[in-house]
Amino acid sequence: MTAASVAANLGGVALFALPGLSLAELLAPLRRLSLTRRLGYAYLLGILSVGGILFVASHLFGVPLCRPVIGFAILVPTVLGLAAWIGRHRRSGSVGPVLPARQWQLLAALAIGAVLLGPLTSALAAPLADWDGRMTWSPLAATMRHEGTVDASVLRDARWYVVHPRYPPLLPLAQVAVQEMFGAGEDEQDYRAVYVAFLVALVLIVHDGARRGAGLRAATLATLCAALPPFLSYGGGGATSGYSDLALAGFYGAALVLLLLEKPRLASGFAAGCLLAGAVLTKNEGVLLALAALLLAAERLLRRRRNPVAAPRALAWFGAAAAPVLAAVALLASWRSAIPNRDDEDYFAVLRLSDLVKGAFTRLPVIVPGVLRWTFRGADWLGFWWLFLAVLLAGAYALRRPRVRRLLLAGLTPAAIAWAAYAVSTRLPDLIGETWNRFLVQGLVPLAFVFACALGRVMRLRQPTPGGSDDSGSAQRSS
């Protein structure tokens, strides 16, 4: 670790945070948030905008992945957002008041910051040494950078050895952007902090989501609990690795917060749709998660169908969310069409309904013990999921709110995908060990939201009420 490599790594994070913050300035539901609450969404939007522009430019227009083009991809959203910010600043004259943080909030933030300093240090001090990072994402990035295109000849000719050649390329493109901008040499891994920043973004989004449903105190406590499991920092799929699960968890979770907790307006729908598009372009499961999120949004839409004022607005909101997802799916399909698949499990190709239904039940004796073992493994989660169950049991009343139930369903969707994969996989026990923890990570934002709501209920219950009765009637019931 040298000063130059630290600077390049942190600069790499800024390459996405700056355009992301600018884009957040253009989207009303994000603009309203304080800087700390906005930062997580902004980082993900920055990754999507830079990676997405490079993907479209390279695949559809044959533009090379070189420094000027990457600079342009960073500059365009940055300038747009900056112009919007300056315009608004001039009109309003001053920025809104910043509320001072309380001491216990600061302490919680400091504790989380100190814990997250560990994976950052580890990522900067040691070379990439995890399985998927070295097998899939970084090789894809190195190939694209070397050939200067997302449609690399190595991917398109089946004789070359590439593992998972059709995996979505958003994170490899983000890696290319950082490596190219800082002129990284053969062994210089200037993209490592970009992966650590996904954990920081995830924690910020967990906090923002939890705060919307459970209030500041419960949200802070829930975020602190959710940020501490060592798997998130050091596991195979954690921040020090080159896996894409934290990024997927961020995109999916952020989209859910905007889609299911924000008022259904055009801007919130579009922002959520962009984040879901990010999920589609990040990992294979992303398309299924995006579909699940849109289904949950559709259920919310159906509840408003009889209101003559709200129904058209909600329809526009849903359309704005679905459009970016469809665009991302189409772009990905177009890119994949020229790439022969090889060295890939390709679950979609081997999936047959009869096998799925049969395997989902006959394999339960193998799946259930495996899943339980990994969920409650102390070294990975420090008992977080035990705590989750206990809090949920004590605060089960929180589940009466429709939006909490929706988020619980969203949080269980990655687990359902895992179950389907385990039902048809040819190497079952190994696959559970390799993937289950990562599926838990993918559902972290919605599950943490449910945890926070239940925790909020627990915190209210434990305090004596003036009348001496339980305060079950005083819980928030908004949907």
Binding site: V115, G118, A126, P127, T143, S153, R159, L387, A394
Partner: protein, 152 residues
């Protein structure tokens, strides 16, 4: 009353979890900082050698010097499955053609294989890969491979 009792127990559990998890998280950070301090300012080669072993890194560097970026190599592995992935990553962006034992013959693949000048064999984790230059032949009826450029 029962709900309040349960809530108090669960709240105590939350506090207990934090009292265990926060010090453990801080300890993990401290350990990483200590390791980082030891390698601070060290050249990249030294950091790689520290992580993967001196002999492994030396072998990789030698192969990198021998195989130009635009030339491919044949890659296989001995007994340890997956060890070729490790070596392949360290040799990127050089393109690999994997030799699979028992693979069905494929004329296209055979045409390329015989025209590749370099062969690397992954031995196992942390162990230096084997490397050799092989004689190149153009099988009858095969066009020159793309990495050779147009025939003069």
């Amino acid at each position: 009353m029962q709900a309040r009792w349960l809530a108090r127990v669960v709240f105590v559990l939350v506090i207990a979890y934090l009292l265990i998890a926060i010090p453990m998280g801080l300890r993990n950070t401290f350990l990483r900082l200590r390791v980082a301090a030891k390698t601070a300012g060290a050249p990249l080669g030294e950091v790689r050698a520290h992580a993967f072993g001196r002999r492994y890194v030396a072998a990789i560097d030698e192969i990198r010097r021998a195989i130009p970026m635009d030339e491919p190599y044949l890659l296989s592995e001995l007994d340890e499955p997956g060890s070729l992935l490790w070596v392949r990553f360290d040799l990127l962006p050089r393109r690999a053609i994997v030799l699979r034992p028992g693979a069905a013959p494929d004329p296209d693949f055979d045409c390329w294989r015989d025209q590749v000048r370099w062969e690397v064999v992954a031995v196992g984790s942390g162990r230096p890969p084997l490397f050799r230059e092989r004689p190149v032949t153009v099988p009858p009826g095969c066009p020159p491979p793309p990495w050779r450029g147009p025939q003069r």
